[in-house]
Symmetry: C2
Subunit: 183 residues, 2 copies
Amino acid sequence: MTTLGFALLGLLAREPLSGYDLAQQLKKPVGFFWHARHSQIYPELALLEAEGLVTHRVIDQTDRPDKKLYEITGQGRQVVGDWVTSPLPVPAVRDELVLRAYCVWLADRGRARAMFEEQARIHADSLAHYEAIKAWFEAEHHEQIRDITSPHFAGYAAVMRGVGYEREYTEWCRWVVTMLAAE
Amino acid sequence: MTTLGFALLGLLAREPLSGYDLAQQLKKPVGFFWHARHSQIYPELALLEAEGLVTHRVIDQTDRPDKKLYEITGQGRQVVGDWVTSPLPVPAVRDELVLRAYCVWLADRGRARAMFEEQARIHADSLAHYEAIKAWFEAEHHEQIRDITSPHFAGYAAVMRGVGYEREYTEWCRWVVTMLAAE
DNA sequence: TCTCACATGTAACTAGTTACATGATTGC
DNA sequence: GCAATCATGTAACTAGTTACATGTGAGA
């Protein structure tokens, strides 16, 4: 089982979806912590089905192409649940912007400043986006986000991380900008 | 040019190193934002040399195996400097722990709590590590860390990100733990 | 007419990981 | 004798990206 497989099972545990739907979900912002293209999703769904973790049925549609609606099986639910608490290998962080910061002493000051300003903007926008989703969770699911057996709690937890991550990232970018702008 | 190539050039711009040294550097904590195994580094160095961005000379050693010491060329320096401010593609975040949080409603509560407690510990340790390096920079290079043309400024900037990242990560893990522990 | 959203797939390639392979010296 | 550090490489595999491929219906 690959991590993508678990990501798909995690989404299908909430509601039945087609491969196309899954690809949409694995775009921002739900998929800020994991994402994939349809070219990776379709073969992965076939593998999940071969292992009995999902099933599909074809939905005939007149106004648009037919689709395969995937549903998680009881076994699939079990497998995701077990995976969540299984030993986690040390996470591999790769961040090209931090790598660029590490090399910024070799770059043109003005251009570097402009780049970090733009990155600050991008992460501030992303932060605003997550904060809006957080506010929506608090307004629409204020009960469920405290219930750890609810998917809304889990979604809220992920969004909380998104907020914290982007807030910190934005602050760091701005700090770099002030350093590059000094004097 | 791959990102790894730029990472290697960024290290070689500071001092000449062997492939083995580079592999050591690309381990924690310098390499918290980028890392690679020696199996990827050796071929990449050969490519960099073929492009005229680095050169090497063999250092004969009696007490240990001979090594190839790589040095960055003027062209190499130019190439890294330009890359730093070149357009940055949207960063692809992949975080398995957040994905697991998104699926935590399907898991056993006690086991999930234990896992997030352990992750909180790991990130708190990592934070302490970065904070020590930050303090070392401030004590040993208090002048250079304000000079944006100094590699120490760039190193300090990267470490600042490490501190912020791990601080936020630790806080989030602890928040998840308190949620899982409630009642 | 053309583009966009819906819908599903395969093929070719790239980056990165794991495993294989070798060999010297130092310290337990 | 055995493990660890230093030192350099290759081979096989996996995950993920980009590009190729096809086709419908709605709306500008």
